[in-house]
Symmetry: none
Protein backbone atom coordinates (compact mmCIF):
# COMPACT_ATOMS: atom_id res chain seq x y z
CA UNK A 1 0.00 0.00 0.00
CA UNK A 2 1.29 3.39 -0.94
CA UNK A 3 1.07 6.45 1.11
CA UNK A 4 1.23 9.73 -0.70
CA UNK A 5 2.38 12.71 1.22
CA UNK A 6 1.22 15.70 -0.71
CA UNK A 7 4.05 18.13 -1.21
CA UNK A 8 1.88 20.76 -2.81
CA UNK A 9 1.73 22.82 0.32
CA UNK A 10 0.40 26.10 -1.00
CA UNK A 11 2.51 29.01 0.07
CA UNK A 12 1.28 32.50 -0.60
CA UNK A 13 2.82 34.22 -3.56
CA UNK A 14 4.97 37.23 -2.71
CA UNK A 15 3.75 40.68 -3.69
CA UNK A 16 6.18 40.61 -6.55
CA UNK A 17 4.96 37.26 -7.75
CA UNK A 18 1.36 38.43 -7.45
CA UNK A 19 2.20 41.35 -9.70
CA UNK A 20 3.75 39.13 -12.34
CA UNK A 21 0.76 36.81 -12.30
CA UNK A 22 -1.71 39.66 -12.53
CA UNK A 23 0.20 41.22 -15.42
CA UNK A 24 0.39 37.93 -17.29
CA UNK A 25 -3.32 37.49 -16.82
CA UNK A 26 -4.29 40.91 -18.12
CA UNK A 27 -1.73 40.98 -20.96
CA UNK A 28 -2.84 37.54 -22.12
CA UNK A 29 -6.33 38.92 -22.72
CA UNK A 30 -7.49 36.55 -25.52
CA UNK A 31 -3.99 36.17 -27.01
CA UNK A 32 -2.14 32.89 -26.63
CA UNK A 33 1.13 33.94 -25.09
CA UNK A 34 2.78 36.96 -23.55
CA UNK A 35 6.24 38.15 -24.58
CA UNK A 36 8.80 38.66 -21.85
CA UNK A 37 9.38 42.15 -23.19
CA UNK A 38 5.72 43.07 -22.70
CA UNK A 39 6.04 42.16 -19.05
CA UNK A 40 9.35 43.94 -18.88
CA UNK A 41 7.70 47.12 -20.14
CA UNK A 42 4.61 46.91 -17.99
CA UNK A 43 6.40 46.09 -14.76
CA UNK A 44 9.34 48.36 -15.52
CA UNK A 45 11.94 45.72 -14.81
CA UNK A 46 14.73 44.43 -17.05
CA UNK A 47 14.34 41.44 -19.32
CA UNK A 48 16.70 39.24 -17.30
CA UNK A 49 14.54 39.92 -14.27
CA UNK A 50 11.46 38.75 -16.12
CA UNK A 51 13.38 35.74 -17.35
CA UNK A 52 14.41 34.58 -13.91
CA UNK A 53 10.96 35.23 -12.49
CA UNK A 54 9.48 33.18 -15.34
CA UNK A 55 11.65 30.25 -14.32
CA UNK A 56 10.71 30.72 -10.70
CA UNK A 57 6.99 30.74 -11.48
CA UNK A 58 7.43 27.74 -13.73
CA UNK A 59 9.01 25.84 -10.85
CA UNK A 60 5.88 26.63 -8.84
CA UNK A 61 3.67 25.32 -11.62
CA UNK A 62 2.14 28.72 -12.28
CA UNK A 63 3.46 29.52 -15.75
CA UNK A 64 4.43 27.58 -18.87
CA UNK A 65 7.95 28.52 -19.84
CA UNK A 66 10.10 27.28 -22.68
CA UNK A 67 13.27 28.96 -23.85
CA UNK A 68 12.68 31.70 -26.40
CA UNK A 69 8.92 31.13 -26.35
CA UNK A 70 6.20 33.48 -25.11
CA UNK A 71 4.95 32.92 -21.57
CA UNK A 72 1.53 31.69 -20.54
CA UNK A 73 -0.22 30.92 -17.29
CA UNK A 74 -1.05 27.38 -16.28
CA UNK A 75 -4.57 26.70 -15.01
CA UNK A 76 -3.25 27.01 -11.48
CA UNK A 77 -1.54 30.28 -12.43
CA UNK A 78 -4.72 31.62 -14.00
CA UNK A 79 -6.68 30.93 -10.86
CA UNK A 80 -4.08 32.56 -8.67
CA UNK A 81 -3.94 35.58 -10.96
CA UNK A 82 -7.72 35.88 -11.03
CA UNK A 83 -7.75 35.97 -7.25
CA UNK A 84 -5.29 38.85 -7.22
CA UNK A 85 -7.40 40.64 -9.80
CA UNK A 86 -10.43 39.99 -7.64
CA UNK A 87 -8.76 41.68 -4.71
CA UNK A 88 -7.73 44.59 -6.92
CA UNK A 89 -11.15 45.17 -8.42
CA UNK A 90 -13.06 44.73 -5.19
CA UNK A 91 -10.74 47.29 -3.64
CA UNK A 92 -11.30 49.75 -6.49
CA UNK A 93 -15.04 49.29 -6.22
CA UNK A 94 -14.91 49.76 -2.49
CA UNK A 95 -12.82 52.89 -2.70
CA UNK A 96 -15.22 54.44 -5.19
CA UNK A 97 -18.53 53.24 -3.84
CA UNK A 98 -17.92 53.32 -0.11
CA UNK A 99 -15.20 55.86 0.43
CA UNK A 100 -16.06 58.38 -2.26
CA UNK A 101 -12.81 58.39 -4.23
CA UNK A 102 -12.76 59.31 -7.90
CA UNK A 103 -11.96 56.64 -10.46
CA UNK A 104 -8.74 58.35 -11.43
CA UNK A 105 -7.12 57.88 -8.06
CA UNK A 106 -8.22 54.43 -6.93
CA UNK A 107 -5.90 52.36 -9.09
CA UNK A 108 -2.77 53.44 -7.31
CA UNK A 109 -4.22 52.67 -3.88
CA UNK A 110 -5.69 49.35 -5.04
CA UNK A 111 -2.28 48.33 -6.41
CA UNK A 112 -1.10 48.26 -2.82
CA UNK A 113 -4.18 47.07 -0.98
CA UNK A 114 -4.56 44.12 -3.36
CA UNK A 115 -1.57 42.45 -1.72
CA UNK A 116 -3.17 42.29 1.70
CA UNK A 117 -3.46 38.66 2.74
CA UNK A 118 -6.81 38.39 4.49
CA UNK A 119 -9.80 36.63 3.02
CA UNK A 120 -12.25 38.12 5.53
CA UNK A 121 -11.13 41.59 4.54
CA UNK A 122 -12.01 41.16 0.88
CA UNK A 123 -15.09 39.07 1.54
CA UNK A 124 -16.39 41.86 3.74
CA UNK A 125 -15.81 44.35 0.93
CA UNK A 126 -17.64 42.02 -1.45
CA UNK A 127 -20.54 41.77 0.95
CA UNK A 128 -20.74 45.51 1.62
CA UNK A 129 -20.74 46.10 -2.14
CA UNK A 130 -23.55 43.60 -2.71
CA UNK A 131 -21.42 41.00 -4.50
CA UNK A 132 -20.77 42.88 -7.73
CA UNK A 133 -19.74 40.89 -10.83
CA UNK A 134 -18.27 43.71 -12.88
CA UNK A 135 -16.34 46.77 -11.90
CA UNK A 136 -17.19 50.24 -13.20
CA UNK A 137 -14.84 49.80 -16.15
CA UNK A 138 -16.94 46.82 -17.21
CA UNK A 139 -14.21 44.41 -16.23
CA UNK A 140 -15.42 41.27 -14.51
CA UNK A 141 -14.64 40.67 -10.86
CA UNK A 142 -13.54 37.04 -10.47
CA UNK A 143 -15.40 35.08 -7.78
CA UNK A 144 -13.63 33.68 -4.73
CA UNK A 145 -12.74 30.49 -6.57
CA UNK A 146 -10.95 32.49 -9.22
CA UNK A 147 -13.57 31.89 -11.90
CA UNK A 148 -14.18 34.77 -14.22
CA UNK A 149 -17.53 35.30 -15.79
CA UNK A 150 -16.48 35.07 -19.38
CA UNK A 151 -17.42 38.43 -20.75
CA UNK A 152 -16.00 41.87 -20.44
CA UNK A 153 -18.13 44.81 -21.36
CA UNK A 154 -17.18 48.15 -22.71
CA UNK A 155 -18.38 51.58 -21.92
CA UNK A 156 -20.71 52.91 -24.59
CA UNK A 157 -18.62 56.07 -24.48
CA UNK A 158 -15.61 54.16 -25.79
CA UNK A 159 -17.44 52.83 -28.86
CA UNK A 160 -17.16 54.28 -32.34
CA UNK A 161 -19.65 55.43 -34.95
CA UNK A 162 -21.02 52.56 -37.03
CA UNK A 163 -20.79 49.94 -34.30
CA UNK A 164 -23.77 47.91 -33.17
CA UNK A 165 -23.93 47.09 -29.50
CA UNK A 166 -26.22 45.66 -26.88
CA UNK A 167 -26.93 47.46 -23.61
CA UNK A 168 -25.83 45.01 -20.91
CA UNK A 169 -25.10 46.83 -17.67
CA UNK A 170 -25.10 50.15 -15.87
CA UNK A 171 -22.28 51.52 -13.82
CA UNK A 172 -24.55 53.47 -11.59
CA UNK A 173 -28.17 52.80 -10.89
CA UNK A 174 -29.57 55.89 -9.26
CA UNK A 175 -33.32 56.40 -9.57
CA UNK A 176 -32.69 59.50 -11.64
CA UNK A 177 -30.61 57.59 -14.12
CA UNK A 178 -33.10 54.75 -14.37
CA UNK A 179 -35.93 57.22 -15.00
CA UNK A 180 -33.89 58.87 -17.70
CA UNK A 181 -33.35 55.55 -19.43
CA UNK A 182 -36.88 54.17 -19.15
CA UNK A 183 -38.25 57.45 -20.46
CA UNK A 184 -36.34 56.64 -23.65
CA UNK A 185 -37.24 52.92 -23.68
CA UNK A 186 -33.62 52.08 -23.00
CA UNK A 187 -33.67 48.81 -21.13
CA UNK A 188 -31.15 46.02 -20.62
CA UNK A 189 -30.74 44.10 -23.84
CA UNK A 190 -31.59 46.98 -26.13
CA UNK A 191 -29.74 46.76 -29.46
CA UNK A 192 -28.17 50.09 -30.32
CA UNK A 193 -26.70 51.32 -33.57
CA UNK A 194 -24.25 54.16 -33.17
CA UNK A 195 -24.76 56.65 -35.96
CA UNK A 196 -22.27 59.30 -35.04
CA UNK A 197 -20.15 60.69 -32.24
CA UNK A 198 -20.05 64.44 -31.83
CA UNK A 199 -16.42 65.41 -31.52
CA UNK A 200 -17.14 68.59 -29.60
CA UNK A 201 -18.92 67.15 -26.54
CA UNK A 202 -18.64 63.41 -27.22
CA UNK A 203 -22.40 62.99 -27.31
CA UNK A 204 -23.69 60.10 -29.42
CA UNK A 205 -26.54 59.77 -31.85
CA UNK A 206 -27.98 56.28 -31.74
CA UNK A 207 -31.00 54.39 -33.02
CA UNK A 208 -32.87 51.38 -31.61
CA UNK A 209 -36.28 49.73 -31.65
CA UNK A 210 -38.83 52.47 -32.32
CA UNK A 211 -36.33 55.25 -31.82
CA UNK A 212 -34.94 56.53 -35.08
CA UNK A 213 -32.54 59.00 -33.55
CA UNK A 214 -31.72 59.69 -29.93
CA UNK A 215 -28.91 61.84 -28.66
CA UNK A 216 -27.12 60.61 -25.56
CA UNK A 217 -24.70 62.88 -23.72
CA UNK A 218 -21.22 61.73 -22.81
CA UNK A 219 -22.17 61.67 -19.13
CA UNK A 220 -24.85 59.13 -19.96
CA UNK A 221 -22.74 57.07 -22.36
CA UNK A 222 -20.02 56.85 -19.76
CA UNK A 223 -22.36 55.07 -17.35
CA UNK A 224 -23.60 52.48 -19.80
CA UNK A 225 -21.85 49.19 -20.48
CA UNK A 226 -22.39 47.36 -23.74
CA UNK A 227 -21.47 44.13 -25.51
CA UNK A 228 -20.16 44.65 -29.01
CA UNK A 229 -22.08 42.68 -31.63
CA UNK A 230 -20.60 40.82 -34.54
CA UNK A 231 -21.57 43.19 -37.26
CA UNK A 232 -23.47 41.39 -39.99
CA UNK A 233 -23.38 43.45 -43.16
Amino acid sequence: MFIFVSNNITIMASQTEENYLKSLFTLANDKEGVNASELSNLLKVSLPTVNSMAKNLQKQGLVNYEKYRPLSLTEKGKKEAALVLRKHRLTEMYLVEKMGFGWEVVHEIAEQVEHVDSSIFFEKMDELLGFPTIDPHGSPIPDKNGSVSGETFEKLSSCKAGEQVQLTALLHSSTEFLKYLTARDLILGTELKIHSVETYDNSMIVSYANHESETLSHVVCDQILVRKNNIVS
Copy 2:
Protein backbone atom coordinates in the same frame (compact mmCIF):
# COMPACT_ATOMS: atom_id res chain seq x y z
CA MET B 1 5.12 53.93 5.72
CA PHE B 2 6.78 57.25 6.23
CA ILE B 3 8.90 59.66 4.36
CA PHE B 4 12.20 61.17 5.26
CA VAL B 5 14.07 63.79 3.38
CA SER B 6 17.78 63.57 2.82
CA ASN B 7 19.85 65.39 0.21
CA ASN B 8 16.62 66.65 -1.36
CA ILE B 9 15.66 63.07 -2.15
CA THR B 10 12.46 61.76 -0.62
CA ILE B 11 12.81 58.11 0.21
CA MET B 12 10.19 55.89 1.71
CA ALA B 13 10.99 53.58 4.58
CA SER B 14 10.52 49.92 3.71
CA GLN B 15 7.75 47.93 5.36
CA THR B 16 10.40 46.24 7.44
CA GLU B 17 11.84 49.54 8.60
CA GLU B 18 8.36 50.79 9.42
CA ASN B 19 7.83 47.74 11.60
CA TYR B 20 11.06 48.31 13.51
CA LEU B 21 10.19 51.96 14.10
CA LYS B 22 6.69 51.14 15.23
CA SER B 23 7.97 48.48 17.62
CA LEU B 24 10.60 50.78 19.06
CA PHE B 25 7.93 53.39 19.61
CA THR B 26 5.51 51.12 21.40
CA LEU B 27 8.17 49.25 23.42
CA ALA B 28 9.68 52.53 24.56
CA ASN B 29 6.39 53.44 26.24
CA ASP B 30 7.66 55.69 29.09
CA LYS B 31 10.96 53.79 29.45
CA GLU B 32 14.17 55.39 28.28
CA GLY B 33 15.63 52.74 25.99
CA VAL B 34 14.66 49.50 24.33
CA ASN B 35 16.83 46.38 24.47
CA ALA B 36 17.70 44.72 21.20
CA SER B 37 16.40 41.45 22.62
CA GLU B 38 12.96 42.98 23.23
CA LEU B 39 12.76 43.87 19.57
CA SER B 40 14.13 40.48 18.65
CA ASN B 41 11.32 38.83 20.61
CA LEU B 42 8.55 41.06 19.37
CA LEU B 43 9.52 40.96 15.72
CA LYS B 44 10.57 37.31 15.84
CA VAL B 45 13.93 37.93 14.22
CA SER B 46 17.41 37.07 15.48
CA LEU B 47 19.54 39.45 17.51
CA PRO B 48 22.09 40.00 14.73
CA THR B 49 19.24 41.04 12.46
CA VAL B 50 18.09 43.63 14.98
CA ASN B 51 21.68 44.76 15.37
CA SER B 52 22.22 45.43 11.70
CA MET B 53 18.85 47.11 11.33
CA ALA B 54 19.73 49.33 14.30
CA LYS B 55 22.86 50.47 12.46
CA ASN B 56 20.88 51.01 9.29
CA LEU B 57 18.29 53.15 11.07
CA GLN B 58 21.02 55.04 12.85
CA LYS B 59 22.58 55.91 9.51
CA GLN B 60 19.22 57.35 8.51
CA GLY B 61 19.08 59.44 11.66
CA LEU B 62 16.08 57.59 13.04
CA VAL B 63 17.53 55.80 16.06
CA ASN B 64 20.26 56.45 18.59
CA TYR B 65 22.62 53.50 18.63
CA GLU B 66 25.74 52.91 20.67
CA LYS B 67 27.43 49.57 21.10
CA TYR B 68 26.00 47.50 23.95
CA ARG B 69 23.53 50.24 24.88
CA PRO B 70 19.74 50.09 24.61
CA LEU B 71 18.17 51.61 21.50
CA SER B 72 16.05 54.73 21.35
CA LEU B 73 14.32 56.71 18.65
CA THR B 74 15.55 60.16 17.64
CA GLU B 75 12.96 62.92 17.40
CA LYS B 76 12.80 62.28 13.68
CA GLY B 77 12.40 58.57 14.34
CA LYS B 78 9.63 59.19 16.86
CA LYS B 79 7.73 61.24 14.35
CA GLU B 80 8.01 58.65 11.61
CA ALA B 81 7.02 55.90 14.04
CA ALA B 82 4.01 57.91 15.18
CA LEU B 83 2.91 58.27 11.58
CA VAL B 84 3.04 54.51 11.08
CA LEU B 85 1.07 54.07 14.27
CA ARG B 86 -1.40 56.64 12.99
CA LYS B 87 -1.99 54.60 9.86
CA HIS B 88 -2.35 51.43 11.92
CA ARG B 89 -4.86 52.88 14.35
CA LEU B 90 -6.90 54.73 11.75
CA THR B 91 -7.15 51.46 9.87
CA GLU B 92 -8.27 49.54 12.95
CA MET B 93 -10.82 52.21 13.69
CA TYR B 94 -12.09 52.17 10.13
CA LEU B 95 -12.38 48.39 10.06
CA VAL B 96 -14.42 48.39 13.25
CA GLU B 97 -16.55 51.49 12.71
CA LYS B 98 -17.16 51.39 8.98
CA MET B 99 -16.80 47.77 7.97
CA GLY B 100 -18.27 46.07 11.00
CA PHE B 101 -15.32 43.93 12.05
CA GLY B 102 -14.89 42.83 15.65
CA TRP B 103 -11.99 44.44 17.47
CA GLU B 104 -10.30 41.06 17.99
CA VAL B 105 -9.70 40.57 14.28
CA VAL B 106 -8.71 44.01 13.05
CA HIS B 107 -5.14 44.04 14.30
CA GLU B 108 -3.93 41.45 11.82
CA ILE B 109 -5.48 43.25 8.87
CA ALA B 110 -4.24 46.64 10.04
CA GLU B 111 -0.71 45.24 10.32
CA GLN B 112 -0.76 44.94 6.56
CA VAL B 113 -2.83 47.93 5.53
CA GLU B 114 -0.67 50.26 7.64
CA HIS B 115 2.12 49.91 5.06
CA VAL B 116 0.09 51.35 2.22
CA ASP B 117 1.75 54.49 0.90
CA SER B 118 -1.06 56.92 0.19
CA SER B 119 -1.79 59.97 2.26
CA ILE B 120 -5.22 60.53 0.67
CA PHE B 121 -6.23 57.00 1.63
CA PHE B 122 -5.61 57.51 5.33
CA GLU B 123 -6.83 61.09 5.34
CA LYS B 124 -10.09 59.89 3.85
CA MET B 125 -10.42 57.29 6.59
CA ASP B 126 -9.72 59.98 9.15
CA GLU B 127 -12.40 62.19 7.62
CA LEU B 128 -15.01 59.43 7.35
CA LEU B 129 -14.35 58.56 10.98
CA GLY B 130 -14.79 62.15 12.09
CA PHE B 131 -11.14 62.68 13.05
CA PRO B 132 -10.99 60.34 16.04
CA THR B 133 -8.24 60.73 18.63
CA ILE B 134 -8.47 57.23 20.07
CA ASP B 135 -8.52 53.85 18.30
CA PRO B 136 -10.78 50.85 19.09
CA HIS B 137 -8.29 49.58 21.65
CA GLY B 138 -8.28 52.96 23.34
CA SER B 139 -4.82 53.97 22.22
CA PRO B 140 -4.33 57.52 20.98
CA ILE B 141 -4.18 58.15 17.24
CA PRO B 142 -1.28 60.48 16.38
CA ASP B 143 -2.21 63.42 14.15
CA LYS B 144 -0.81 63.81 10.66
CA ASN B 145 2.24 65.63 11.98
CA GLY B 146 3.07 62.69 14.20
CA SER B 147 2.06 64.40 17.44
CA VAL B 148 0.31 62.28 20.01
CA SER B 149 -2.57 63.75 21.96
CA GLY B 150 -1.61 64.72 25.49
CA GLU B 151 -4.11 62.83 27.61
CA THR B 152 -2.53 60.00 29.51
CA PHE B 153 -4.38 57.38 31.40
CA GLU B 154 -3.58 55.43 34.50
CA LYS B 155 -3.08 51.74 34.88
CA LEU B 156 -5.99 50.03 36.60
CA SER B 157 -3.39 48.23 38.69
CA SER B 158 -2.33 51.52 40.23
CA CYS B 159 -5.84 52.40 41.40
CA LYS B 160 -7.13 51.92 44.94
CA ALA B 161 -10.16 50.28 46.46
CA GLY B 162 -13.21 52.52 46.42
CA GLU B 163 -12.31 54.37 43.23
CA GLN B 164 -14.61 54.55 40.24
CA VAL B 165 -12.93 54.52 36.88
CA GLN B 166 -13.71 54.23 33.20
CA LEU B 167 -11.95 51.68 30.97
CA THR B 168 -10.33 53.81 28.26
CA ALA B 169 -7.41 51.94 26.74
CA LEU B 170 -5.34 48.77 26.70
CA LEU B 171 -1.58 48.52 26.85
CA HIS B 172 -1.50 45.35 24.87
CA SER B 173 -4.09 44.09 22.46
CA SER B 174 -3.28 40.48 21.75
CA THR B 175 -6.18 38.40 20.49
CA GLU B 176 -6.00 36.36 23.69
CA PHE B 177 -6.35 39.41 25.85
CA LEU B 178 -9.21 40.84 23.82
CA LYS B 179 -11.06 37.53 24.02
CA TYR B 180 -10.55 37.51 27.77
CA LEU B 181 -12.09 40.96 28.07
CA THR B 182 -15.02 40.46 25.72
CA ALA B 183 -15.86 37.21 27.50
CA ARG B 184 -16.42 39.37 30.60
CA ASP B 185 -18.26 42.17 28.80
CA LEU B 186 -15.35 44.49 29.46
CA ILE B 187 -15.37 46.99 26.62
CA LEU B 188 -14.04 50.49 26.16
CA GLY B 189 -16.02 52.95 28.19
CA THR B 190 -17.08 50.44 30.84
CA GLU B 191 -17.52 52.12 34.22
CA LEU B 192 -15.80 50.10 36.93
CA LYS B 193 -16.09 50.32 40.68
CA ILE B 194 -13.12 48.92 42.55
CA HIS B 195 -14.34 47.07 45.59
CA SER B 196 -11.10 45.73 46.95
CA VAL B 197 -7.50 44.98 46.17
CA GLU B 198 -6.09 41.69 47.41
CA THR B 199 -2.78 42.46 49.10
CA TYR B 200 -1.37 39.00 48.53
CA ASP B 201 -1.48 38.88 44.71
CA ASN B 202 -2.73 42.38 43.87
CA SER B 203 -5.84 41.04 42.17
CA MET B 204 -8.87 43.33 42.16
CA ILE B 205 -12.53 42.75 42.77
CA VAL B 206 -14.61 45.08 40.67
CA SER B 207 -18.24 45.58 39.66
CA TYR B 208 -19.75 47.06 36.50
CA ALA B 209 -22.90 46.90 34.39
CA ASN B 210 -24.46 43.47 34.94
CA HIS B 211 -21.42 42.13 36.71
CA GLU B 212 -21.78 42.31 40.48
CA SER B 213 -18.35 40.96 41.27
CA GLU B 214 -15.50 40.07 38.95
CA THR B 215 -11.97 39.27 40.02
CA LEU B 216 -9.22 40.59 37.77
CA SER B 217 -5.65 39.40 38.26
CA HIS B 218 -2.78 41.84 38.54
CA VAL B 219 -1.52 40.75 35.13
CA VAL B 220 -4.80 41.85 33.64
CA CYS B 221 -5.13 45.08 35.65
CA ASP B 222 -1.63 46.03 34.60
CA GLN B 223 -2.64 46.04 30.94
CA ILE B 224 -5.75 48.15 31.35
CA LEU B 225 -5.70 51.94 31.27
CA VAL B 226 -8.46 53.91 32.93
CA ARG B 227 -9.63 57.45 33.42
CA LYS B 228 -10.43 58.27 37.04
CA ASN B 229 -13.87 59.65 37.50
CA ASN B 230 -14.59 62.68 39.63
CA ILE B 231 -16.42 60.97 42.40
CA VAL B 232 -19.48 62.95 43.30
CA SER B 233 -20.48 61.91 46.78
